[in-house]
Amino acid sequence: MDILNAIVALANFVLIPAAAYGAQLALGALGVTLIYGILRFSNFAHGDTMAFGTAMVILVTWALQGAGIGIAPLPTALLALPFGIGLTAALVLGTDRAVYRFYRRQKAAPVILVIVSMGVMFVMNGLTRFIIGVEDIAFDDGARFIVNARAFRDATGLDEGLALRSTQVITLVTALVVVVWLFWFLNRTRTGKSMRAFSDNEDLALLSGINPERVVMYAWLIASALATIAGTLYGLDKSFKAFNYFQLLLPIFAAAIVGGLGNPVGAIAGGFLIAFSEVGVTYAWKKVAGYVLPFWEPDGLLQLLSTEYKFAVSFVILIAVLLFRPTGLFKGKSV
């Protein structure tokens, strides 16, 4: 019985939240890694692209709600997602036209493009706050729980409750669909293969007649979609606040780099690795320990790090990987 309680507590407080968070980070890291693979720079504006995309989804969600259109029990935001992606893609492609293309023509060094992307980040950041404000916005309508803690306790007779929120399941299902689609696209379609070829060997791609501007356009389109989806899922799961997305940049970059920049499989693995480490290190293990080792009465909460320091986890993992395996766990391009 105690073992079961321990497992339920673990699932409730660590496994399920970390899996959902990991899926959100993985989608974010996929966008970063894709842009790195094609345009060869770390896009610091990705976090704010997520924020802008989510803001667009929220605006469309409000409009749909106002018009009485919904897809209950699913959140209206899912219906708004394609519109949000379209608006975000328009902004991102416009930015590429107005800003990045200029530096591409100059064959600017990657470090210059990184700085340029920081400029874009500040502008996007300001734009998002200007449009939607700085407050916390909860835009999750739909059913809250698939399994509710009290119902679970009553049904199983266990002391521990297990809550499974619908946003967590939606996150995992959406992420799975997106990842399967992305890999199908990259490995099976002509355009996807041309993107991999361009990422592998740009000069040879040109010699094969692959049009670089088209590859770049597709990369931005997919990155916009990934950013909007990741941002919306994160916002549904937690809540929307422009500043949080800026902070997400660190774990997302850590995930992309740990997995190996430019490597999509690595980005996914990195996302889950960072999420599980972050949640695992900041979780107070006292309760689980109490079930498994009833004779042991620890003094503290058995929490390695308080939650305010959760970003330190990404940082430590990032530094360890850069020190011992600079190309990441899955052989990306070296940074």
Binding site: A197, L207, I210
Partner: protein, 236 residues
């Protein structure tokens, strides 16, 4: 005599301020093999890039089948029927052999399977390795992928920069045989080679390039017979 299929005349230019090529001229007749030899750093690879439009020329012009292509981008030249195998980084390392070949045929909208079969017939080892990543092949196998990739566009002119670099003597003979086979099928070939003697033996036309300029230009046989060429470039 009809005009050459490819004619690059008076090419002058380089990567930056200093010129690497000085009034360099190369021509290839239809269905023939032209070979460029010369010491390291002579500008052979640079000349190839210039012919393919990967270098800004200060002077000179390139014509293909009578049409002036000097202003065209490399991609546009691919569409015109030129294929190029660079000296280094000439495969997509994390893509399978088959995907490398598919990328070679990127601009084609017709059925490419017949051409792929031809490439596999030419280089049978590639058929066995078709699911393997090109980056995991041996140097000689990789060169075959590189040549195969360029053949997939069905080029009328194939440009090869040291296709036999780093391959064993047996594979080298094999590769030369294959190149002759390709030329017999009507494809014109412009090739840079380090194995000067062997390359000139199969060359209809040969060029000795020194410091970015034509030092000697003649038929392959005449260059092989020329005592000065033998003494200075072929080691006696």
């Amino acid at each position: 005599m009809s005009a050459p299929y490819l004619s690059a005349e008076g090419m002058t230019g380089g990567y930056g301020a200093a010129d690497i090529l000085h009034d360099c001229t190369l021509t290839v007749d239809r269905g023939q093999i032209a070979v460029i030899v010369g010491p390291n750093g002579a500008g052979k690879s640079t000349a190839m890039k210039a012919v393919f439009g990967m270098l800004r020329l200060r002077a000179g012009r390139v014509t293909l089948d009578g049409e002036d292509i000097t202003a065209l981008s490399p991609q546009a030249r691919v569409a015109k029927g030129m294929g190029f195998v660079p000296q280094v980084a000439n495969v997509f390392p994390t893509m399978s052999v088959e995907e490398n070949l598919e990328m070679g045929a990127f601009l084609r909208r017709d059925d490419i399977r017949a051409t792929m079969e031809q490439v596999y017939a030419l280089f049978p080892i590639l058929r066995d390795k078709r699911r393997q990543n090109a980056g995991e092949l041996s140097g000689g196998q990789r060169q075959q992928v590189a040549v195969g990739r360029a053949l997939m566009t069905q080029p009328k002119l194939l440009m090869l920069d040291e296709p036999t670099a780093g391959v064993s003597p047996i594979v080298m003979d094999e590769l030369f045989d294959r190149i002759i086979e390709v030329a017999r099928s009507g494809i014109s070939i412009l090739m840079v080679e380090q194995n000067a003697r062997q390359a000139l033996e199969i060359a209809d036309r040969g060029y000795v390039l020194v410091q970015g300029a034509n030092r000697f230009a003649d038929t392959g046989a005449a260059l092989l017979a020329d005592p000065e060429v033998r003494r200075t470039f072929l080691g006696g």
